[in-house]
Assembly symmetry: C3
Homo-oligomer: 427 residues x 3
């Protein structure tokens, strides 16, 4: 039926050069240096572990990249069905000219060597960006990142604030804050000042967003300096903290961040719904899960209190996507943002993307971000998204609603590229 239509739309969408609005790239080592960096991505280690490979084998200290890949490869047979495996094969095909249908114990070492050679080329990073159609990539920087030594026009800083909101009771976090700002957060007032310094620093380095990931039960309240002040006297003494105090402190820091986002005109990326360390014996970055019972109603006070702040919202659970659609349709400052983590597989992207396209103003949708740790992943991840997007545009716009193909492509471009520019760069 619409297969060639989908292909035509996909081809058009592939021509759009992108700015990736959220990743975990290390700008000092953006591209992979060997296949171990690729297969070391938590999606592969956690799936191999889930399929039976002991964590100790994967994370044995001192093993070489080659040895790590050797151990992982036999378990790839168990995950050939997954979307993540499809990313892997697409990367291998496009970047390393790998033509085999699967990666096996017989062929992996050839690939390892071929990939290694490619990655050793001095312009590898630039090659990857070019082949991936990526012009710039947002980072996720620790609050005490000096943001020096890289091109902040290509790798755009973003202030990550999880530690400040959720771990300020930890001495090491307070020390890092002191070191980064020269202000000791011993009072609520000082903490506000310190956070202000961070915003000053980050925006001076070209940061374009503030970001945070939040557990499913988080509900920010309007806690100001006054309300929070009494807590700071007890910051040193751990035993005193009850749940309510912890909640108050977290809301205070969170609310302070939102205020600075308003002052500095920074969008505040909310990544809602993750429970950390649910599976404590899991591999690195493969321990987090979630409780789907989460609602955006928890953010009503925030969305009402900061009409001048743009909130690109990602939800971890597919079940919350309809709320995201509805809240973005009603609140001018709520923006749908990408397809996050456990929702980043075609089945959920397809339904979630279609819902957003059918009900949220087209100017308020950030189609996709890679969330990648290594640059090579941008290509297969955006490719997966573009194919799903092309399918939705074909079936639900060109066929169901009689749209012209150019119109559908223009809508795709808007959510893939134009909105990133307008929302983060106020162009």
């Amino acid at each position: 039926m619409s297969d060639s239509l989908v292909q035509r739309l996909t081809a058009e969408l592939e021509r759009i050069v992108l700015i990736d609005p959220h990743s975990h790239i290390n700008p000092h080592a953006a591209a992979s240096k060997d296949l171990g960096d690729i297969l070391g991505y938590h999606y592969y280690t956690e799936l191999a572990h889930s399929a039976g490979l002991p964590r100790e084998k994967i994370e044995e200290p001192g093993i070489t990249a080659r040895e790590k890949v050797r151990r992982l490869v036999p378990y790839l047979a168990h995950i050939e069905n997954t979307a993540q495996y499809a990313w892997l094969m697409e990367m291998c095909r496009v970047f390393f000219d790998f033509q085999e249908p699967t990666l096996t114990e017989k062929n992996w070492e050839t690939l390892f060597d071929a990939a290694g050679k490619k990655m050793a080329q001095p312009d590898w990073e630039a090659q990857v960006l070019k082949k991936s159609g990526l012009e710039a990539v947002f980072l996720t920087n620790d609050f005490d990142d000096p943001l020096t030594g890289f091109d902040t026009a290509k790798y755009i800083p973003c202030l990550r604030t999880d530690d400040l909101v959720f771990h300020l009771t930890k001495p090491e976090v307070r020390q890092r804050l002191t070191k980064a700002t020269g202000i000791e957060p011993t009072t609520a007032a000082a903490t506000v000042d310190a956070i202000g310094k961070l915003f000053e620093h980050f925006t001076s380095k070209g940061a374009r967003a503030c970001a945070i990931s939040l557990p499913p039960n988080f509900e920010p309240l309007a806690i100001d300096q006054f309300d929070a002040e009494p807590l700071f006297g007890r910051l040193g003494k751990r035993e005193d903290w009850c749940d309510d105090d912890t909640k108050t402190l977290r809301s205070f820091v969170f609310w302070t961040l939102a205020k600075f986002c308003a002052d500095y005109k920074l969008p505040f990326d909310l990544m809602i719904g993750v429970n950390r360390r649910v599976y404590e014996s899991g591999v690195f970055q493969g321990q987090d899960l979630y409780d789907g019972r989460c609602s955006l109603i928890q953010y009503r006070r925030l969305f009402n209190a900061f009409p001048q702040v743009q909130f690109p919202v990602s939800v971890l659970s597919h079940g919350v996507n309809q709320e995201l659609v509805s809240y973005s349709w009603i609140f001018p400052n709520v923006i749908t943002s990408g397809h996050w983590w456990y929702s980043n597989i075609p089945v959920f992207i397809e339904a979630d993307c279609r819902a957003r396209l059918e009900a949220v103003p087209q100017t308020k949708q950030l189609g996709y971000y890679s969330d990648m740790y290594k640059l090579e992943f941008g290509l297969p991840k955006f490719a997966m998204y573009r194919r799903v997007l092309a399918k939705v545009l074909a079936e639900n716009f060109v066929i169901d609603r009689g749209w012209k193909e150019e119109q559908a492509v223009a809508l795709g471009k808007k959510i893939l590229r134009d909105n990133v520019e307008r929302i983060f760069f106020q162009r």
Copy 2:
């Protein structure tokens, strides 16, 4: 593949003349009088507002309809992707012979004038009903509506009870009740009598349903006159009301309504899941949202206690649709009803409609209602539904299950028309 099949089924479904089982039509001004009435529908004002148009511009007192449309039109470009925009264009094409693909700053005024002329025709209301294939339309009347001055066979009264259940503590609501019934609700017993009077009045005027919209956390309990009586002594004194008392009072009124529905053989429409005034700075009727964490288990006592009452149930959240399917499949008195508000877009209708058709007795499904405020919206809304329904019938019945097309059309007719007659008119 099945495109022409879908078209054939759609064409057959379009021939069925309908009774719209739920709307907010004002029977004294059922049709629009200008394009401002059309674009004043909250779907357009709230989406334009969400896309950046300040509320003050939209709701400035004293502006003309023409001026309001002039201000809204530039923002329509941002919502061309939405299902609501598709309704608008379908209305303009069918009713006003508008042939442009989009409504723009260049062409809106021509449309405004053309539409104005059409709407000024003395039989405009009848034209709209005829073109829309609508024979009769249910209303949603305030409990103190005199229900006079209109044809109650065409505009069928329905007793809306939100104010009674949720706002009886407000003096103005009690005064309205006193005025409507001649009974002052100063005791539980008097309140029961007053409510009885309302049912008497409404059914004498041809009312065919009682209706209410409910917040996601509402859980009705069997509170009788005795249990509630102590609360009435404090009805004047606001400061005394704790949450439990409020819940008791609400359950009492709700339970009383259910009893009268039993006595008067009125179906009780439950519209479950809306939180009012979540976005307080939103435009008129564009402030309500929801918490998807809601379950029909909250209504188990009600469904068990009133087997003789039919409960057409609408759920606001797509996530509750499976429960609605399961509860209707088990409880003889639970009926699936339409696709409400935030779930009234093709992506959710398609999945929800398919689930109902695959598991709920066909006699217990009310396919669709318009929920409209102005008569012109019946046409594009029912058209949207019929296309989705035709697609589901084509793919999941004719193709997947080998049904004959006539059989599929007959199923469509049952849920679109026959069930409305049987459930509300006991034909």
Copy 3:
């Protein structure tokens, strides 16, 4: 488009001989003896009841099977749209050569007689198994089942533990336990011993799984003998039980079961999410419903504490399927299992199956089980599943990902057959 592809894949999947990993078959009367056994399945009685047939008519004591069918048939017209009706017609076609498109008041008696003759054939049970492509079927045995008098290689025992966990406070359950094991559960220690005896007995008879169905709010805690001991002194005195005590006792028994599953290397089937007796006036087995607000986070302690136990998990609510996918993707000991009850209709199977195939290692998925009470239902239920599976494999693997058809069929075989062997028989 892909219709003939779907048909080819379906045909290949139909050639795979299966082991049904979960049913409620009575091995002493596995097949039906008349059409009353077929139409007596709760899906038909509850749907007919929901469509208007009074329970008293269906469950009148002393009526013959013929009379029961006579009463049910007129109500089948109301449920022709349901998936369950499609099972019925497929069974009648395949097993009884019934060629009519529907079962009506005019033709049912002919079918009743024809079916009766077939079912009276001495090898009927074997015929059904053969036609259904079933090699073996898992049972769900009460804990005090002697497990004698049947072929435990064909009908594989499974220890059902609902009564132990949820009804140990009932004297009759404790008496049954005493009778089955010779140990009176008067102390926590004795209860552990008694449960140990059950595992000994069941595994000696070839049991391959332990199973339990759980309400949506169940959250197992690590309660050991010591913690639970104080409760046992009060087991006789009902009035003393508070909610917390009940929870502690349930967790204790549940945790003890998990320990024995570890000791005896039995997979522990968790069927999560059912509320019993929600509709108390419903027909037999047609009274249970659910609260969709349920999360696998409730099982984090269990999954962490028993890495050596395999947990095939079924979820009642479609809304929890994404969590099931994510938890199976992360936890090595969590396995996706079938499509249960209210989620066992094509619309939910399709989405849930696709999500699992896109993100869970293929070795960790149990595609389907029949859940049947009578052997004839295996055929249409597995046929429904295979068609949906073939559709997903065709659209999302062969078409979207360019897989070869053999590869897609191999994936289907893995989740339909191979994984049942590996997970339950450690082959």
